[in-house]
Symmetry: C2
């Protein structure tokens, strides 16, 4: 598994937890903005159920994406960086070797 | 099955289809009003996913409730009458024996 032998210090874990939570809140806030727009524009049953379909898709996606196991966290953070949910400053205080790994994974996402 | 031997004339079918559709639109409109309120008040991920839970419940309920088979239609209309989704005037033109059955079922709902 990715990074499963990497140790995270107590401080790093606190930073990681905060960054993870911030990204998740940003993602949910964006979903909510879309839901508000869809709800304000909906005019018929079909467009009502489109909101449900949208939320089902987003919930499944975010359940899969926001996986807080330290073994996969560098990959999760890389994806969130690539998607703009995390900024470099959110991860300040995390060791350089971990950040380097995260950046490499983020480049991988950018290329794929 | 309830009412499976009852014949519906072409005109009755047209009235029934229109009433059924009107009730479904009213129901969806009420769900949408609640979704808009929930979305405008939501502040965190938990309240976002509550919208999804609410829509999942309502979709399941309405899929079950809006069953347009003539064999069960008197029961469906009775429930919609009892819930205030249908008004007596929506069913004007449907034969008196059918209306009587619908009213009896509606009373059953009111008592249960």
């Amino acid at each position: 598994m990715i990074g499963d032998k990497t140790e995270w210090s107590k401080t790093e874990k606190e930073i990681a937890r905060k960054a993870f939570r911030a990204a998740y809140h940003r993602e949910c806030s964006d979903i909510l903005t879309t839901v508000r727009k869809m709800a304000s524009e909906a005019e018929d049953p079909a467009s009502l159920w489109q909101i449900h379909d949208f939320l089902s898709k987003k919930r499944k996606e975010s359940d899969e994406k926001y996986d807080y196991r330290y073994s996969v966290l560098p990959l999760v953070f890389a994806r969130l960086m690539y998607e703009g949910r995390l900024k470099p400053e959110d991860l300040e205080g995390i060791s350089e070797d971990k950040l380097q790994g995260i950046r490499q994974f983020a480049e991988f996402y950018a290329r794929s």
